[in-house]
């Protein structure tokens, strides 16, 4: 009913989905979620004390917890969520498959595998992992998308997901095999490998800024051609775009985004599935519109999942991947159960 009111004029003619309304609502919600992420935690700091610390009047301990622990975490959640949400949207448009998700299809697992190999070869975890993670994501992306272009696989969206999940589990098994070789590496990345935004160094973020900026520029450049590509290869060519080149750039962007997110927070699955799904439901299937909404919804989901992960098993913490799987798997079931899978 409410959706009908928002999307149809009184005379029954469809009106454009109110993107701006949703963006404003999303931004308000995001601000709320970020605030609660700063205020709520497993420690002894009460929300009221945290609020005072935010205003600059708190005592020393509260100041430390807010500035040094919760603020970086929230910031990382913001950027990781936005990156994963956008990567999911781009990948789904690229594979023309509503189930194509970087985490599920093995892109994050490729990234994690590459980081593990690099650490095993003696790289230090603080300096090298960023670009290695992006290279690994690129490799995983290329494998899965070339599989999608194979005969028979591309026609069946669900078969591609199964293949991607298998690739993902293979890479995860290889990663844990490699970790057994080297205790030092294992200790270093054990927490990272389950996905979390806690206790990360903001230096990683600084290092990632150039590639994130590059990804943003490239996205703005290819978003119109991508929307044309969604209408079909022939249509895109007729409109003057080069499908091969668009795909190539989009793959690079996905790899940059997923690699950056994985370097920051470890492999987190299902976010790239849920975010575009919600965004498409709200503003329709045009990527030029719903990509903006992904930028807002991604952080909302990631930060609220992170906040919940702190309070569910307090004083311990739950790996973030557990919560995103709990949110994401039902969405996966909902998409798969639809009578006719939408072709993007």
């Amino acid at each position: 009913m409410w959706k009908k009111l928002l999307t149809q004029r009184p005379n029954g003619v469809a009106r454009p989905y109110p993107l701006m309304v949703w963006m404003l609502l999303g931004a308000a919600l995001l601000a709320l979620v970020m605030l609660s992420s700063l205020l709520i935690g497993a420690g002894d700091i009460s929300p009221a004390a945290a609020w005072q610390a935010l205003l600059g009047q708190g005592h020393e301990e509260a100041n430390f917890v807010i500035r040094e622990l919760r603020a970086p975490r929230t910031l990382l959640g913001l950027i990781t969520g936005a990156a994963l949400g956008c990567a999911g949207a781009l990948m789904q448009t690229l594979a023309r498959n509503p189930l194509a998700e970087p985490g599920l299809l093995g892109v994050s697992a490729g990234s994690a595998f590459a980081v593990t190999v690099a650490l095993l070869l003696g790289a230090s975890s603080t300096t090298l992992s960023v670009y290695v993670a992006q290279a690994g994501a690129l490799a995983g992306c290329l494998i899965v998308l070339s599989a999608a272009r194979l005969n028979g696989v591309g026609n069946d969206p669900i078969r591609l997901v199964l293949a991607g999940a298998t690739l993902s589990s293979l890479l995860l098994a290889l990663t844990s095999l490699l970790l057994m070789f080297d205790q030092r590496t294992a200790d270093e990345i054990r927490f990272w490998i389950t996905g979390s935004v806690a206790g990360r160094d903001l230096a990683t973020l600084k290092e990632l800024l150039p590639s994130l900026a590059l990804a943003a520029v490239l996205t703005l450049l290819i978003i119109r051609p991508l929307a044309a590509l969604a209408l079909g290869e022939t249509m895109a060519t007729n409109l003057g775009h080069k499908p091969g080149r668009i795909r190539f750039v989009a793959v690079i962007v996905v790899a940059l985004l997923v690699g950056a997110a994985t370097a920051m927070a470890g492999p987190i699955i299902f976010v790239g599935l849920v975010v575009p799904f919600i965004a498409r439901t709200l503003v329709g299937a045009d990527i030029r519109r719903y990509l903006w909404l992904c930028l807002v919804i991604g952080p909302i989901i990631l930060i609220s999942a992170d906040t919940f992960s702190r309070i569910i098993v307090a004083p311990a913490e739950l790996p973030l991947g557990v919560l995103t799987a709990m949110i994401g798997a039902p969405v996966l079931l909902a998409v798969v159960r639809a009578n006719r899978l939408p072709r993007l």
């Binding site: 599989a147 194979l150 669900i158 997901v161 293979l170 070789f181 699955i269």
Partner: protein, 357 residues
Amino acid sequence: MQVLPFQHHSLPLKGFWVLKSPRQGISLLVNKRALVVNLCLMLALGLAGTLSLAAGSVPLSATEVWLALLGKGDPLHELVVRELRLVRVLAGIGTGAAFAVAGCLMQTLARNRLATPGIIGIDNAATAFAVASVVGVGSALAPPAMSIVGAILATTLIFALAGGSGTQGYRFIVVGLGVGAIAGAVTQLVLSWVAIDTANAAFPWTIGSLNARSPDTLLLLAAGLTLGGIWAATLVRGLQALRVSESLPITLGFNSKRLRTQSLIVAVGLTGVAVAVAGPVGMVALLGPEIARLLCRHRGIPLLSSALAGALIMVLADLLGRLLLAPLEIPVGIITAVVGSPYLLWMLLNPNFRNQP
């Protein structure tokens, strides 16, 4: 209309021996190829088992192993072989056979080679329940019972959710994937809920390992395997008809609904028992029947060959896991995943892939 008289003549059966009792009352068809395959697999299993008993921090020769097994060897060797290593090898054989038989039944039932319990998430659910019971209840018998409950629940959920779409397509399997993901998350949730010691006790279940199994659970596994194996053997005739087409069992006078329910119960029960002992070593349920079908050239439903092949894979994978990084030990679940996933990928990406077993 002319009614043809019923002609009694023996069909020329290539590749079978026909055994007949003198009074013509009973006759038996013996598949030559299956017989040879099964004998070879048993021989290989014996060899692999001996190797697995011999390898370890106290290396033994094959003769020493057999002497120790028969109770005539060195007391130290007897202790090592009979008390320490035998439980492990037997657990490997039992779980491998149980997984593979369950996989074979499931594949035939769903008429889909990909629909093994591990791939559709039943293993994960059984694991989640087993872990929850280890964490919650102290009894040694709780994990097997709970893992069977978990397997049944997951199966019901998957069939209910995939309801209208049938079991042949990929949709059914991705539903299982989703259910499996939820179950995996639940396992993690339970593990992070409890004290670190309890979590460590439950950890073997989450990756699949044959390390330090108690003889008690082994007895349970043996009982479950015997019961399930015999029950499955009585179902084979009906399932063979099901393999040809959905409606043939009804035409031949089988109770199709009961046949399906019973096969499903056996498959789920065997999976539950095997997970309770070894954790989710999912790929065995795919690889065992595939190897068996390949060796038997796709004739019938090779339950026995599947069981033997599954046991062989499990014992070999466990042996490999122990030798590869000795003295460190790689859980058997990781080895089977590394070996099995490429095969599954090849199945999925092969354009000429046939879904039906």
